[in-house]
């Protein structure tokens, strides 16, 4: 039987506010455990939450970016459960009246088709802390690090509109692109800035009823998400084809060991006993605030992609890649505008630089080769000072911090020889030194001669230590050989 996959996503996005959603403690990542948790974050008796206005604005900005209804009166509720990393014994979140209502996100697929994924709602909430099971702890005990407790999140809940892993990944990447473009999230997946819960079910192709779903929680990379869905789809199909039924359950996937396992079934699920939080007033967002935020909203990825196509004459695909992330887009634009060659700028940004950054686990914002440096290098390719091949060496040297483009070209003696007199001499010398090759070329019929040119080029590059301008050499060589015919 053919099976159709149905996927819905719940995405937790950490908002890039300086302080926590209900306290003045810092949200910055990587501090010593429990040094960024104040009395409110620790849920000390008598402490009270005060809502961070910036977090509200960021949530509204997201709503505007996906053209959603904005909840002008949203309400915080308490979600009650006990866990050591949840200091109050409840999470302050939104349920009945979220700040962002229905909206939609458009995705593009590899075959060029597009699809709209509906957003059910997005709500504001606080993050929990972390349990610590390693390190300097007494035997048999665990620790709790509450630095992350109270970090503002929006949880974005999609409708079950995705029908393949490709669509799910495209949707996840598009959300990443939107939240980083409008500057409400730093997008650092490795630091947990975006985390995905995937709801997966399968059904016979053509069926209109949804199958029983499972939820795999807390996936923090696109790759893990892809793997987890793939494994879960396979598992569900196996179970059903073996005559079994799918249990509604929460699952975990370990991206390092590639092992997925059930965490708890629906029957074991908590009764969260939600009720409106009496310590916080309903959040009112005025029309004026919404309009002001709308006017200040940075360019969205789709608009930027369209602009890149027209302004820089890029292909839709290239424009899509380069506009997906605010830091990539701004890097590309700086390079393109300063070097004057958008096509080369795009190739380098998406090719060499992107690969190097990936290897080093860095983002464009932290690139060791600055946009200005890359632009200068491309300018040297454009003015024929260096060849594309030499440029790779120059790039490598810049990456290693060996200085600016011209210094590296000088230091490595990479300057391309474009002086026609000098090149003519090299060509003549090579032809004179290889009479047999010349003879072979002259005696070959016309369609084989083209292939034999390569042999001369190799010799010339060897003699010139790779510095000869290949286009010019080609011209001179052809001219000289034609004279011999």
């Amino acid at each position: 039987m053919n099976w159709e996959t149905v996927i819905g996503l719940e995405v937790h996005v950490q908002l890039a506010t300086k302080t926590k959603i209900f306290s003045a403690a810092s949200t910055s990542f990587g501090a010593e455990p429990n040094t960024q948790a104040c009395a409110i974050d620790l849920a000390m008796p008598g402490t009270l939450p005060v809502l961070n206005e910036q977090a509200v604005h960021y949530a509204v900005m997201f709503g505007l970016a996906i053209d959603a209804e904005i909840g002008q009166v949203s309400v915080f509720e308490r979600k009650n459960y006990f866990y050591p990393d949840l200091p109050k014994g409840y999470q302050t979140t939104q349920l009945e009246k979220p700040i962002v209502g229905r909206g939609a996100v458009g995705i593009q697929l590899a075959d060029g088709s597009t699809k709209s994924i509906r957003i059910h709602h997005a709500h504001l909430e606080e993050d929990a802390g972390k349990s610590v099971h390693e390190g300097d702890l007494p035997l048999g005990s665990s620790g709790v690090d509450l630095n992350r407790a109270g970090t503002p999140l929006i949880e974005i809940v999609s409708e079950p509109d995705m029908r393949s892993i490709e669509e799910a990944v495209a949707f996840a990447k598009k959300l990443h692109s939107i939240v980083t473009s409008i500057g409400i999230c730093d997008g650092e997946m490795s630091q947990g800035s975006m985390r995905f819960d995937v709801n997966v079910s399968v059904r016979p192709m053509g069926s209109t009823e949804l199958g029983t779903r499972t939820e795999t929680k807390n996936l923090n990379s696109f790759k893990f998400m892809e793997e987890a869905i793939e494994k879960e789809v396979e598992r569900q199909i196996d179970v059903i084809e073996d005559g079994g039924t799918i249990r509604q359950e929460t699952r975990l996937y370990n991206g390092d060991t590639k092992v997925a396992k059930a965490m708890r079934s629906k029957e074991e699920a908590n009764d969260y006993r939600y009720f409106p939080c009496p310590d916080l007033l309903p959040v009112i967002v005025s029309d004026d605030t919404i309009e002001a935020l709308r006017r200040a909203l940075p360019e969205l990825p789709d608009a930027r992609q369209a602009r890149f196509v027209t302004q820089y004459a890029l292909s839709l695909y290239d424009a899509g890649v380069l506009s997906s992330d605010a830091s990539i887009a701004s890097f590309f634009e700086t390079v393109a505008n300063s070097c004057g060659n958008p096509k080369l700028a795009a190739n380098w940004a998406m090719g060499e630089l992107s690969a190097a950054l990936n290897n080093a686990g860095l983002g464009f914002a932290d690139s060791p080769v600055s946009a200005e440096q890359l632009a200068e290098m491309i300018a040297r390719i454009v003015d024929s000072s260096i060849s594309g091949k030499m440029a790779k060496q120059v790039f490598e040297a810049m990456w290693q911090g060996e200085g600016n483009v011209d210094d590296i070209i000088d230091a490595k003696g990479l300057k391309q020889v474009s002086d026609s007199g000098a090149l003519e001499k090299i060509v003549t010398d090579v032809l004179e030194a290889n009479p047999a090759m010349v003879e072979d070329f002259v005696s070959s019929d016309e369609n084989k001669r083209k292939k034999k040119l390569g042999g001369f080029m190799g010799q010339i590059m060897k003699v010139s230590k790779g510095q000869a301008n290949p286009q010019q050499v080609n011209q001179i060589l052809l001219q000289k050989l034609n004279e011999l015919l």
Binding site: L48, R78, F82, P84, P87, G89, F275
Partner: protein, 484 residues
Amino acid sequence: MHNYTIAELVKGLQSKQFSSVELTQHFLARIRQFNDQYNAVITVTEDQALQVAQLADQRLATGSAPALCGVPLLHKDIFCTKGVRTSCGSKMLDNFIPPYNATVVENFEQTGAVMLGKTNMDEFAMGSSNETSFYGPVKNPWATDCVPGGSSGGSAAAVAGRLAPGATATDTGGSIRQPAALCGISGLKPTYGRVSRWGMIAFASSLDQAGPMARTAEDCALLLNCMASFDDKDSTCVDREVPDYSASLNKPVKGLRIGIPKEYFSEGLHPGTEAAVKKALTDLEAQGVELVEISLPNSDLSVPAYYVIAPAEASANLSRFDGVKYGYRCENPKDLQDMYCRTRSEGFGEEVQRRILIGTYCLSAGYYDAYYGKAQQVRQLIEQDFVKAFADVDLIVGPTCPSPAFKFGAKGDDPVAMYLEDIYTIATNLAGLPGMSVPCGMVEGKPVGLQIIGNYFDEARMLNLAHQFQQVTDWHTQAPEGIL
């Protein structure tokens, strides 16, 4: 000195009739001498008090000290006090020393008032008799075999027993007014949002409100002047100017329309209490107020609605006491579940556990609409009753509680009988209105309280009426035997 009112102490301090240090030493001595009888004070901050008193004397010497500078006070142990154990009457917090002050405490500290110590209370403010405290029951100075009321029974007994001229307290369903009535003192619960809840350990966040206890309405006004403030640390605190509550105490009350809710004089009201309250009404009438019978038709729903909403909020508010971060943790937990269960079973008393269970039940899937949802609707009806009433009258007056102080254990095994203690006070908490209690008579040698309910933020008018009542009566000047 301990028979002076706060107003008189302020005069004495400002005119250097006595020093704050002398005054502080006097009250510390009284606490040492009498607290064994009352068990009203559970922490005495003697060294700190004397230091603060010395500083207060320096400020007083400059001639420009604020009104309450140098006045000794007690704080209910529900208010966090920096560096001083804050137990909330519970074993759970017996070892808890907050690193911060409640805003109420901070306000008094700024003005130079002297904290003598912390008062006993029902555990987490859950109780109407002070019998649920981990530190043992407080005894009523008027009859030490009787309860002082609760949950602010320690503050009330301390003021009645002249261990302090005034004290802070909190009121979620009557916890200021009922013990004030039972101990023969004056106590005021302000409008919800008038006084900051920051640093006040939460019982039911939408109902909790801090207020003053003293012997007179005039003293309550002085204390409220300092307690009330806008505080951006409490999102439910209202940003509204604090009037000078002392300024309007002497306004004539002639012509004020006073509503008498007929529902507050029905079955269950002790005949002695009823007689005392009716006599007080006659006294008020003699001062020229106009008495108008009114109806608050949903009054009988206030106790059931309260005992859904308050426990529901409490069940979440008390979840933080889990043994992980501070406070009590059970010995040798075998795993996480065991730590939670035993920490909370051993750390919380029976009444607190009862309310956590009620609240958890009311919020559970399948019960929410029938209990919590319905209770919120009832709450709105009760609020509307008052809104309608206040369209016609300036203040509402009636009994504070159904009967005078009862004996220890009298209602111990009947939680519902205990809950009915607050039948006349709970509705104002549900509506967020201010209410106060002033002494208005004696029954069987025990005090009776007169309740005055005001419109939102109309504390000044309540205090005005109470003060004028105290100009023509002397119930507030009476003291338990052996005190004077």
